[in-house]
């Protein structure tokens, strides 16, 4: 089991680095998003909690979340390609438990997501991002990114497994995955939104995961951003576990 998980995970990573355009896209896209949207909204932004954070800083953890989301999407869309091109059939007739496919995929998506986030976090060494992160905060943030990345990739497996074409996946991505990110507090704060939107964002598990990530950047800093309530974090964790279990079940069935 561990050997098969290891080999499926390793393949994910090798495949990623063998496609230079994918690497460039993965690194440049978040940077472009962050710079363009961040700079555009910087002047008109007012943080809900009356701190003096700029929009570029506010948007920064949101872009990290976006990196995880897109990595998960690109990792799991390969399930459809693998099924079409034939690689998956070779795995399906091998004596490996179906769960190895889900775990290998989720760990692969998680690892690639973290690596890209770490590259993007190099920006924190520049004056462009003035986040007062401590070593403990950094370690907590990476852990938080890992858990979110694992959950999102499991969600991606759950969605990609029953589909036959990547076009269908793109459609689901637009109506489900992207809104999940947009309404997570990544682009605008929860506070100050209309009641219906506020409710929608509270239901979204990513809102609480992102609040925790945001908090990690301020751990050990006086007057930093407060963390979400433990119950909200628990809710987000349960959602992640549910996605993973559902992915295991759907893969075992088909």
């Amino acid at each position: 089991m561990s050997l098969s998980v290891y080999t499926l995970l390793l393949r994910e990573v090798i495949r990623f680095y063998r496609q230079p355009n994918r690497v460039i896209g993965a690194l440049l896209q978040p940077l472009i998003f962050w710079l363009l949207i961040g700079s555009g909204l910087n002047a008109s932004f007012q943080a809900g909690d009356a701190t003096d954070v700029t929009y570029l800083e506010y948007f920064y953890p949101g872009v990290l979340l976006m990196i995880l989301l897109f990595t998960s999407i690109f990792s799991t869309i390969t399930i459809i390609e693998d099924r079409r091109d034939g690689f998956l059939q070779g795995v399906l007739v091998a004596p490996v438990p179906r769960s190895a496919i889900v775990i290998g995929k989720a760990l692969g998506g998680m690892l690639l997501g973290i690596l890209q986030c770490l590259v993007f976090m190099l920006l924190m060494l520049t004056p462009m991002v003035d986040l007062p992160i401590t070593p403990l905060g950094f370690a907590s943030a990476v852990l938080c990114l890992a858990v979110i990345g694992f959950g999102l990739t499991a969600l991606g497996v759950l969605m990609a497994w029953p589909l036959n074409s990547s076009q269908e996946y793109h459609a689901l991505m637009s109506v489900l995955l992207l809104p999940l990110w947009l309404f997570s507090g990544a682009v605008f704060p929860v506070d100050g939104t209309p009641a219906w939107l506020h409710w929608l964002m509270q239901v979204n598990p990513l809102t609480h995961a992102l609040a925790l990530l945001r908090h990690c950047f301020h751990i050990g800093v006086e007057g930093g951003v407060a963390g979400p309530a433990p119950l909200a974090v628990g809710y987000a964790a349960v959602a992640g576990v549910a996605a993973f279990v559902a992915a295991l079940l759907i893969v075992r069935r088909g």
Binding site: T7, R11, D85, G86, F87, Q89, G90, A94, P95
Partner: protein, 311 residues
């Protein structure tokens, strides 16, 4: 001795359409077993069930003595499977692909490395080990597929139209290597095909049509069931021509597909008369001893090229 494969009363459905209609089959260990049939005959469905990718609607299927439904893990370990389409990762090198698949079968370390080196050598692809699969020709890819399925030294090789998309020269080479490997490992080889030349390579051949097994024996025995010569005529209007020939020569001339087919005790006696009378209506005429295609036509009453609807 336990047969390599034992199938009893096997049925399978795609929705309402019956793909397998009660197949009984026994494949002895060590055989080079061919499954011949046109598209839609059910051979690939049978392959998928043997490979544990589909579950029978009814019936019993055992591979290497293990039930394909309840003992899936054991069946998978006993099988080396080659699909019609490539199951290699194009972005990985030949050696990386083999290593990954070895890992999936629980092989690792020095033993796996040695096994990969040996197979690359046997299949004459050792000089391409470090090349990405996307740079290989169709024929070489098929050889890597074969190496991949041999890594864990399976008792049974299961190949679904393994030479699809391969040019004739590479195809010959592929079969030569496969026969060599089978002889060396004493493995059972089961392959599906819709090519008669490939079917001739089988030590035992099952012929399938519309989800049923219509014949199963050695190719020589199957052909010997037709003791007469077979004359095949292509002309403008095969149906009318067949009727005219039957009336004139008092023989069983039948229209099969787009040709007229006649079984005759002696083609040499029949041909001169045929040519003389129907010269203007005949485009081509051929006479031969019975072939596997003739066996198929005799058993099913239709031309081989005719495909089942919906395929």
């Amino acid at each position: 001795m336990t047969p390599a494969v034992a199938v009893e009363g096997l049925t399978y459905y795609y929705g309402d359409r019956q793909a397998l209609a009660g197949v009984d089959l026994e494949i002895p260990g060590g055989a080079m077993f061919g499954i011949l049939g046109p598209n839609g005959s059910g051979k690939t469905t049978l392959f998928r069930i043997l490979a544990t990718l589909a579950v029978p609607a009814s019936g019993r299927v055992a591979v290497a003595g293990q039930d394909v439904v309840t003992r899936r893990g054991e069946v998978r370990r006993a099988l080396g499977v080659v699909f019609q389409t490539s199951s290699l990762d194009d972005k990985l090198t030949v050696a990386e692909n083999l290593r990954h698949h070895g890992h999936l079968y629980g092989c690792c370390g020095a033993g796996l490395r040695r096994q990969i080196d040996e197979l690359l050598q046997q299949l004459q692809i050792q000089d391409r080990a470090a090349d990405r699969v996307e740079t290989l020709s169709g024929g070489l890819r098929r050889r890597v597929e074969l190496a991949r399925c041999l890594l864990h030294q399976p008792e049974i090789l299961l190949l679904d139209e393994p030479t699809t998309g391969v040019d004739p020269t590479a195809r010959l080479e592929y079969w030569r290597l496969l026969a060599e490997i089978q002889a060396r490992q004493n493995a059972t080889v089961i392959f599906t095909t819709h090519w008669f030349e490939e079917a001739e390579r089988a030590s035992l051949l099952a012929i399938m049509d519309s989800g049923r097994l219509v014949a199963c024996d050695s190719p020589a025995t199957l052909k010997s069931t037709i003791s007469r010569d077979v004359v095949t005529i292509h002309g403008d209007d095969p149906a009318t021509l067949a009727a005219a020939i039957a009336a004139r020569f008092d023989c069983d001339a039948a229209c099969v597909g787009n040709a007229v087919r006649i079984e005759s005790a002696s083609a040499t006696d029949l041909l001169p008369g045929l040519l003389e009378v129907f010269e203007g209506q005949v485009h081509s005429i051929s006479a031969s001893k019975a072939t596997l295609e003739d066996v198929y036509v005799q058993r099913t009453g239709k031309a081989f090229a005719a495909e089942a609807p919906g395929q």
